[in-house]
């Protein structure tokens, strides 16, 4: 009796587990074969976009001329890093919204967690077995997706790399290639933040520190290097520490607490993403040492936007997810339709600070 009861419980648990991993791991399909709809949707989307984002979109779309044919209903597979990260949840929503607008069908899949490089490759390999015309890939690290890209090439699926880079040399050696590439200049993100910080500190100079993401990850190293170069070239600025925050709130909180303990005259902390910047700002606040210190993040997530408005965070580096996803899809469509593509397209960036945060209302 009781054995049977527990057996039922176990099987239920396992079922739940499967459902849970399916919920966060696999695709969220949408199919929009209806070609009449998108035109009205496009109008809606245009009015919803903030003027700053519209300017970004215009700059980016100029790089992408001539435009591909819309409303083809082509199936495009998207593989993002992980839907446990709010940033990629936002990107997924952006892809799905823009797909409607452009008249293509998009599936978004992801790795179960941000560090699971093997599962991400397996997901990609499963995707290559489907009937996608093109795929947009954002790898966890430069090498994990290489074998999957080769398979996609062999099947004639066009491959666009969005965001973190797939290592070109390794890919070439493995006999594969990318059809298109769109990314954010990570070094430039770090450099922009650092330039704002240096400017704010002014001629007095002073001590600054960097909290990285996971050491070795592309975004983390790129942003760190960009910021470091600016700090090192600026007179009077002393970069005292680069610490690994692992993209984790609690780790960043503790590091910030320890940093101001060791350097009470610290003038600024640059964090490689907003999640860590928010935690660092909180830690300084809790230690009673927030005043006169600049805390800057990257990504401009919604919580960061609210914190900048409330004066808790000094700034962040923004780029529009919606414009970014749109450009990725347009590149993929152009590849499918046989256009020649530029070697790499860079998404425009903007520094959002206390001074200009008002111009970034309804950012997406």
């Amino acid at each position: 009796m009781s054995k049977r009861f527990w057996a039922t419980v176990v099987s239920l648990m396992l079922l739940l587990g499967l459902l849970a991993s399916a919920g966060c791991g696999t695709s969220q399909p949408t199919s929009h074969e209806n070609n009449a709809q998108p035109i009205t949707l496009q109008a809606e989307q245009k009015t919803a976009l903030n003027p700053k984002a519209q300017a970004m979109e215009k700059a980016l779309m100029e790089q992408l001329q001539p435009m591909p044919q819309m409303n083809t209903g082509d199936k495009i597979g998207v593989l993002v890093i992980s839907l446990t990260n709010p940033y990629w949840v936002g990107m997924r929503d952006a892809y799905l919204a823009v797909a409607k607008d452009l008249g293509v069908a998009v599936d978004v899949a992801s790795a179960p967690t941000e560090g699971d490089t093997k599962s991400q490759l397996e997901t990609l390999e499963a995707m290559t077995a489907k009937d996608y015309k093109a795929m947009i890939l954002s790898p966890i690290e430069p090498f994990n997706l290489v074998p999957g890209v080769v398979k996609a090439n062999q099947k004639g699926i066009k491959v666009v790399n969005l965001g973190p880079p797939i290592d070109p040399a390794t890919l070439r050696q493995a006999g594969g290639h990318l059809d298109g590439k769109i990314t954010v200049d990570f070094e430039e993100q770090g450099a922009m933040a650092a330039r704002y910080i240096v400017d704010k500190i002014g001629s007095d100079g002073g001590k600054v520190a960097i909290i990285q993401g996971i050491p070795g990850a592309g975004q983390s190293e790129g942003r760190t290097n960009g910021a470091r170069k600016v700090f090192e070239q600026s007179k009077g600025i002393n970069l005292v520490s680069i610490q690994p925050g692992n993209w984790d709130r609690n780790t960043a909180y503790n590091i910030a607490t320890n940093l101001v303990q060791a350097h009470s005259d610290l003038k600024a902390i640059f964090c490689c993403n907003d999640v860590m910047a928010l935690a660092a700002a909180d830690a300084l606040e809790a230690a009673g040492k927030r005043q006169g210190k600049i805390v800057f993040g990257v990504d401009f997530i919604q919580q960061a936007q609210e914190a900048i408005k409330a004066g808790k965070l000094d700034g962040s580096i923004a780029y529009s997810s919606k414009v970014y996803a749109r450009a990725g899809l347009i590149l993929a469509m152009k590849a499918v339709q046989g256009h020649t593509l530029p070697a790499a397209v860079y998404s425009p960036l903007a520094a959002v600070t206390r001074e200009n945060v008002g111009e970034f209302e309804n950012w997406q």
Partner: protein
């Protein structure tokens, strides 16, 4: 029953704690010589504050490992409890009820894990590994992968407030540690925990309700994890489904470093606490001395490896 060997294990247990204290003292002396910022009341208080989470998780994990088990689900439970509390707060539930619900969820998760392990005699490693995924999955589904933030002041007080000059998380950790020491050393339950890890079959044959006690151990571990999860959420003023990532491994590392045997039967809460402080001081020192981030992981791993190897060698000798 086993007089001579008991003395020997007792001696070796205290020996490993003494060695840990010596290592801690050595590290602290070195850091105070190397940096003028280390030996300041505020910094020492920060270290204690930052170690509080691991102490709370460590007490639960110590009981589990002494009883011959392992609990890989604590990080996920911490995340789920934080999310449940946060979502309830956002839906207008009062703080006490939301906090209680967070803790109850942790205990329930522990009860189901413990029930599976003891009733069906399943391997704790596999069960808690599966539960880790199940529970984190539920946290992700409930939160839709997004952080939930901005809590009332009485909740954030639990994470970054002060009472009588010390951080609240530290007080909570001290209470959990004290309870852990008392339970393990002065109650019948504590004796059973050690006996389950030593020889479960013998205990079962002597008529003790082993299943019940085993389930209770995982429920306690779940409670500790939930408390840690609530403190993290309160401290960061944000609950997120990815909170508590790798907590289980950090807690296990602290327990093993503290001299508790992975084979079960032998271990101490005090050892775990000292190990948590040692790791806390080490992390603090690495930041204060501005050690390059690439070397930090390597160093922490090497120290744990060294501790485990030396304790194995010592056990072999004695």
């Amino acid at each position: 029953m086993m007089n001579e060997s008991t003395w020997k294990t007792l001696l070796s247990r205290h020996l490993s704690q003494l060695l840990l204290i010596a290592a801690l003292a050595g590290l602290m002396l070195y850091l105070s010589a190397a940096s003028p910022f280390f030996w300041q009341w505020e910094n020492l208080r920060n270290i204690a504050d930052q170690s509080a989470l691991m102490m709370i998780l460590g007490v639960g994990m110590t009981l589990v490992i002494i009883a011959g088990g392992i609990d890989l689900s604590v990080g996920a439970i911490a995340a789920l409890s934080g999310i449940i509390m946060a979502l309830l707060l956002k839906s207008g539930t009062n703080s006490t009820a939301a906090l209680t619900a967070g803790l109850v969820v942790g205990v329930l998760a522990g009860l189901s894990t413990g029930g599976l392990i003891s009733r069906m005699r399943l391997n704790p490693f596999i069960v808690t590994l599966a539960m880790m995924s199940v529970i984190r999955g539920v946290a992700l589904i409930l939160s839709q992968g997004m952080p939930v933030y901005n809590f009332p002041a009485e909740v954030t007080w639990l994470g970054k407030g002060f009472a009588a000059g010390l951080p609240v998380p530290l007080w909570l950790a001290l209470a959990v540690v004290l309870a852990g020491v008392l339970v393990l050393n002065t109650t019948r339950f504590g004796q059973y925990v050690q006996a389950i890890g030593g020889n479960e079959e013998a205990l079962h044959r002597s008529g003790v309700q082993v299943r019940l006690y085993k389930t209770a151990i995982y429920a306690l571990s779940g409670f500790c994890a939930a408390l840690a999860g609530i403190i993290v959420a309160a401290r960061l003023n944000t609950a997120e489904p990815t909170a508590g990532w790798m907590f289980e491994l950090e807690a296990i590392a602290a327990v093993i470093l503290g001299g508790t045997s992975m084979k079960g039967g032998v271990g101490s809460v005090a050892g775990t606490v000292i190990a948590c402080l040692l790791l806390g001081v080490l992390r603090n020192g690495l930041t204060i001395l501005s050690i390059h981030s690439y070397y930090q992981q390597l160093l922490i791993g090497l120290i744990i490896l060294f501790a485990v190897v030396s304790s194995e060698i010592r056990e072999g000798i004695s």
